[in-house]
Symmetry: C2
Subunit: 354 residues, 2 copies
């Protein structure tokens, strides 16, 4: 065995794969938010020209991958690792139909962007591929009717609820000398703190983020301030505050101003957001998008990573990023059966110097 392990759950790639290209797609609301300039493709039509929201989600994945491949000047990646929130992950399966690309389906709920990025990087570093794509998506309308209520019902949302991002992101990693590089990852495991409120995913997932980020800092010996940006996927306003509290109460290192969440970056929440180095200037300009505790969904972390974050890294505005996407591994049925919400978090170090 070539030992790539650091500590308990973290791994260092021997030949860190480069991010060759990335692309993201968003809907109308995403195009009205503070990151509007960071999307490759924005569409006012929530159907993306298709007949149903589910087919629209597949189309978003197809567009994101196709745009990323165009940027990488590549016809097809060696593998694609993809998944989504729709039952049986049909967003990915139908999105890849006709592509002929070797495909590994993954399911990590909203952690899918980090999980798929890790598996794609493992395939490259492990000598199975020159390059591989990682991809996921979510769609507000499809998610609402699958997990909550028919949109026509007009159900009221709780203050802790989050708004599922209509978006997709694709990242292609591969062998190259050009930064940024995928340097390390910390694996996830199921953490269940007993939260049963399906309208409070942030609270359910924060303990998983704490579990994985703590392991990352312990295993690597890196303090949180090693990174320019530590970003969770979709903990939202409440979950990200809880994560800060778990760190300050746990006696470990504190998360500083370099920590934020993709669910806080993607939409404007008016005066609700506490100023933070990344979100502050951006929220002021767009008013309040009425998204309660912020954005969520696989497409949240995916589109913010594939757009805003990786663009900032390519331009050198960010040098060292820890991307930690979290997933709530429940279903409507498990909630109806009175179960709590098992969660998971995967962390990926992306750095301009390997």
């Amino acid at each position: 065995m070539i030992n790539k392990k650091l500590g308990e759950r973290t791994f260092a790639f021997l030949s860190p794969p480069s991010v060759l290209a990335s692309a993201c797609v968003g809907g109308k609301k995403e195009g009205e938010g503070p990151l509007r300039g960071e999307f490759d493709i924005l569409n006012e039509d929530s159907f993306f020209g298709m007949e149903t929201w589910e087919k629209a989600e597949s189309e978003m994945q197809r567009l994101a991958l196709s745009e990323a491949l165009k940027k990488a000047d590549m016809a097809s990646p060696d593998f694609v690792f993809a998944g989504d929130l729709l039952n049986q992950c049909v967003g990915s399966a139908f999105g890849l139909r006709g592509s002929g690309i070797p495909f590994f389906g993954v399911y990590g709920a909203c952690s899918t962007m980090a999980e798929s990025l890790i598996l794609a990087s493992m395939a490259v570093d492990g000598g199975f591929a020159s390059n591989a794509a990682a991809m996921t998506s979510s769609h507000f309308c499809g998610a609402e009717r699958q997990f909550r209520f028919p949109l026509e019902y007009g159900g009221q949302r709780t203050p802790t609820a989050q708004w599922t991002v209509t978006g997709a992101g694709a990242v292609i990693v591969g062998e190259s000398a050009a930064p940024p590089y995928i340097t390390r990852f910390t694996s996830g495991r199921i953490v269940d703190a007993g939260i049963r409120d399906a309208n409070n995913m942030g609270a359910a997932m924060a303990p998983a983020a704490y579990d994985t980020l703590s392991a990352h800092f312990n295993d690597t010996g890196r303090a949180p301030d090693y990174y320019d940006l530590i970003v969770t996927g979709d903990l939202g306003a409440l979950g990200s505050e809880l994560l800060r509290e778990l760190f300050s109460d746990g006696g470990g290192p504190r998360l500083g101003k370099n920590y934020t969440d993709c669910g806080l970056l993607i939409y404007s929440r008016g005066n609700a957001d506490k100023p933070n180095r990344f979100a502050a200037g951006k929220t002021a300009e767009s008013g309040d998008q009425d998204v309660q505790a912020g954005g969520s969904g696989c497409g949240c972390g995916a589109s913010v990573l594939a757009g805003y974050i990786l663009r900032a890294m390519k331009k050198g505005r960010l040098e060292r990023v820890l991307f930690a996407a979290t997933g709530a591994m429940m279903s409507s049925l498990s909630a109806q059966q009175g179960e709590s919400i098992p969660s998971i978090c995967y962390a990926v170090s992306i750095e301009n110097h390997a």
Copy 2:
């Protein structure tokens, strides 16, 4: 890049991981079938002591993994790759809750056993783990109500329908000098031949099996008779006949008596089964279990591989096996929306001589 690729879509492991141990769990009907003696754990109660069928499915995964770990004399694997058919793969997530094992969720529908076995082997061969588990499950009652009708409705089944196996299988691969070894794999890709009948999964998936098995024979230069056993996951009676026809009509190599399907092995179909080297003697003894075109579900290929097949390999009765599980990547909603059924197949070579 360490080039492990053979031809278009097949890979040879540099240090083929061994199958360290495997275990399988089944329900009442599986315990009445011809493979009754090949299960590690059989339970007459379809609830496995739990309150719901979904929780029973998680319990089956927990039991299968725990039994496999016991056989391998191991407290915990470095990673587990697992998934299932339930919406949002709750079978795996809840089954692993409390285990603390680093977890990658996968979704390949009924191809999950092969997909997870490939990813687990890639993790070991790629130097990320000393060992890793691959696991999946399905439950007849949970699958019926999720994909078809409430059981209480007593809906009639078509002759092409298959019976979802109530079962789970776990396989642990790792570094060892002992056979059997995971030697090669051929990746899957989405194949959609336009079949829309959700009661005829065998027909929907056979073209994917043909696509991947053809690639395997082309890439490796191996003819079908290289293997003692070529076994698909759950094509059933109709799908496996279609696969034979695709090979004979395609002008490629023909599949001989060494080809069968886990869905034909696991239940008795009385006189319906054509005699074949593996199923023939076994079906006669158990009469007709009224399973229409045979077994299906993630648990079908998983329990037959983790039980009957790997036991026969350990005993030397089989030396070279090609395990090719197929998945129908649709959902109830995609079928309701009039979509055809995209399918995928992954093939894994398991051999007693690496």
